[in-house]
Amino acid sequence: MATTEPDADWHGDDSSISQLRGRAFEATCLAATAFGLVSVLLLLLFVANDAFRPLSADSGWLLTYAVTVVVPLAALAVYYYRLDEPAGEVAYVTSGLPVVGVLLTGGFAVMFIELLSILEWFALVTSLVAAGGLIVAHGRLRPNAALERLVVLFGAPIVTVLGTPPAQFNWLVTDLAAALGVDFGLYHRVISLREVLLRLPYVPTNWLLLLGTLVAPLAVAGGVFVARRCDSRRAGFAVVGATLVGALVGLVTGPALGIGYGGWMLLVAFVALPVGVYVEGVVRRREGVRGLAFPVTAVLGVAVGSVVVDAAGLAGPDSWIDWGFLTSATSRTAADAGIYPAMVGSIMMIIVIVLATFPVGVGAAIYLEEYAPSEGPMGKFVTLVEINIGNLAGVPSVVYGLLGLALFIRIVQWPQGSIVVAGLAVGLLILPIVIISAQEAIRSVPDSFRQASYGMGATRWQTIRQVVLPEALPGILTGTILALGRAIGETAPLLMIGAAASVRLAPNGFFDVAGMMPRQIYSWSSELEPAFRHGVLAAGVITLLAVLLVMNATAIVIRNRYQRE
């Protein structure tokens, strides 16, 4: 190095390089972020406080649960975070799985109560399985008949679930038969397998049907999973056996615990089986076994806490959200008001939205990204369409409500305020969002994959089906679920299509008039009694947010799961 005296200037301590503006900009950005987050958080705390009213509890009650539940769990969380991260992951999953399982159980229970009886479910599942069997058998017998397979793929489920067309279409069937040179004589409608099952003279009891259509298949799936993981068939059979025994034990213990047979079956299938399979894997790998302490501590803490609270006669908080709120209909008195029918309405609306927007939105996105020409007059037209889809994403939701009113109620003459109208109107609203996010996901698949596939002599369809879609699916699902989160909270279209302001009975079909959660919350906001506006409203908002949170969490889990691979 040079021997001359060091030049002090180059290190920049004379502030010749000004970083003032940069620092100021950074601070402003931080402030903007903090402001947004803090204001949302404050609002949530405010609403949650109104809904749960934790301060209405005796201080002894709060103290007891703080000591038995909060402190031990917090200590465990700190321990996992600092010292034992794999155990933290185990704790996270073992606490999350039962929650997801209970939510699923609740969903299925609501479905069986409101939508279709267990017998109808059994008939539907059995006919779909039969259709699947037909498709597989056809693929085995005639592996090279592509067009025929397409017909079977769509025809088999239709025939097993719906049967042949009704007698109004007599002419169609007889003409077709005549064209093929067959003479039926008089055409009789062939009923579907589903209808045959519904008319069986002897029907097994509900729990047996659930055991056959839900518990047993899930148990076999869990058994196959475990058998692959341990490389032992015995372990797989053990899982199946344990699940079935667990289900049958419920026939004795269920009534004692106040759980119906059907509820027990659902709990075994959705909670006990997945948790058991996961815990077995953790114990066998001996990795993060300490994480199992977290859910055990939580359950023990709650149990000990409730014993202490009962013994000391301490009163809990007078929360607006409780079991009664979630399971009863709205009422004239605030204390009896509940959100159950609106929640069922919202969930059924989401089903309609998914069925309507997912195929259309993803199909449009695939066409625009993979097939549509980018050059020439057609290319210009496609660009115009894309710009308009972008604009449609910004059209106010009231306008979509108006569109739904005109299209589905005035023209198609579906019942005003019915679930299918609400679902389609809100579905139209999120359709542009679904298309745009699916387009983004498809565009983010590297072109080199497509090139490689085409270079191998794949057709466009094979490339899309086997390379582009599997790679884009997580992105498509994430975008769609986030759009559904927006859909479930939309209020204006529901007002326009005349969704019920308050309903006492949950809808039993998709053409029933129903209320949805945001609509119900909106009508509570204009009740005269303050208890509605401050308490019940807050409880409704929290319920809606909880449903939203579950959906967003699902989106995040899906995204992380695929990114890890």
């Binding site: 020409p373 020439g376 490689a452």
Partner: protein, 297 residues
């Protein structure tokens, strides 16, 4: 697949200078296969067949002409290298051999390009069928984000050739000199492999469907020297069985591995085409000599 392994018994071919015939332990089944094929195609014994022939081929991207009146023929079961500066159209020519240019909306092709005596730009040629006979390996390794096994099986599956799939995948990986490294991890993601392994996987994927021709677009330019030399050895072995057309920026590479060399220069012109040895030792054109010796700007 037509007459193979000609190279193995005529290593005195002047074009094959620099190639050392290395005995391949995994080559046994391949030789068996070649015996049957040789019997069916005796006319090829007389001399090398020209498997690809371009006549006055012009390619345009919009208004820009990328290739000008290319006329050349590529011999069977040899390595033909295409060299030239960036933007000279050598990759365009490569991509017009298996009609990958069809995927670019603005591309337009004029002239004729024969593959086994059939003009591939005839209306009755399905580019998908053509690409099943002419495989391609790209500049950057681009395995699918699937398992190693699924990558190699991809081409077989899309062509519904799923009989003996395991056997075919194993053979392809052995031919691509990758089997020993991945034998135990066929279920692992192909993206976990190193760059050189990924490129050999792409070669295995391309040869699994047994094409006639393999096009390689600068297959080693994104790899380190060791991985590059493995790919070069592999290319020489592949030429015993396949017709290999390779685009490269690396002139030493072209000199080492190719039998024939085509020199493209700016403007999409094919300036000189001939045996590699004579191109590098005694080029006819001054421009080619300038380019090869590095004087070209």
């Amino acid at each position: 697949m037509t007459q193979n392994e000609m190279t193995s018994d005529d290593s005195t071919d002047p074009a094959a200078v620099g190639t050392t015939a290395t005995p391949d332990p995994s080559g046994e089944p391949l030789v068996d296969q070649s015996i049957e094929v040789d019997g069916t195609d005796s006319s090829a014994q007389a001399g090398r067949e020209q498997v690809i022939e371009a006549r006055d081929l012009n390619v345009f991207y919009g208004d820009v002409q990328a290739l000008q009146d290319i006329t050349m023929s590529i011999p069977e079961n040899q390595v033909t290298a295409m060299i030239g500066p960036s933007g000279c159209g050598k990759s365009t020519f490569l991509r017009s051999i298996n009609r990958m240019n069809d995927l670019i909306d603005t591309a337009r092709v004029d002239g004729e390009l024969y593959f086994e005596g059939k003009n591939i730009y005839d209306d009755d040629v399905d580019p998908v069928a053509l690409r099943r006979r002419i495989g391609m390996v790209f500049q950057h390794p681009n395995p699918f984000p699937k398992s190693i096994y699924d990558n190699v099986a991809y081409g077989l599956r899309i062509q519904d050739e799923t009989e003996n799939l395991d056997q075919k995948v194993e053979t392809a990986l052995k031919r691509a000199a990758l089997w020993d490294e991945v034998e135990d991890q066929l279920d692992k993601s192909a993206l976990d492999l190193s760059g050189g392994q990924q490129q050999r996987l792409c070669i295995a994927r391309a040869i699994a469907v047994d094409p006639d021709v393999i096009l390689m677009d600068e297959p080693a330019s994104a790899l380190d020297p060791i991985a590059t030399s493995k790919i070069e050895d592999l290319i020489e072995e592949l030429a015993e069985e396949f017709t290999v057309v390779i685009v490269t920026h690396n002139m030493q590479q072209a000199a080492r591995i190719s039998d024939k060399t085509a020199v493209f220069l700016t403007g999409g012109e094919l300036v000189e085409f001939g045996d590699t040895q004579s191109i590098f030792e005694n080029p006819e054109h001054q421009r080619v000599e300038d380019y090869i010796t590095g004087k070209f700007g």
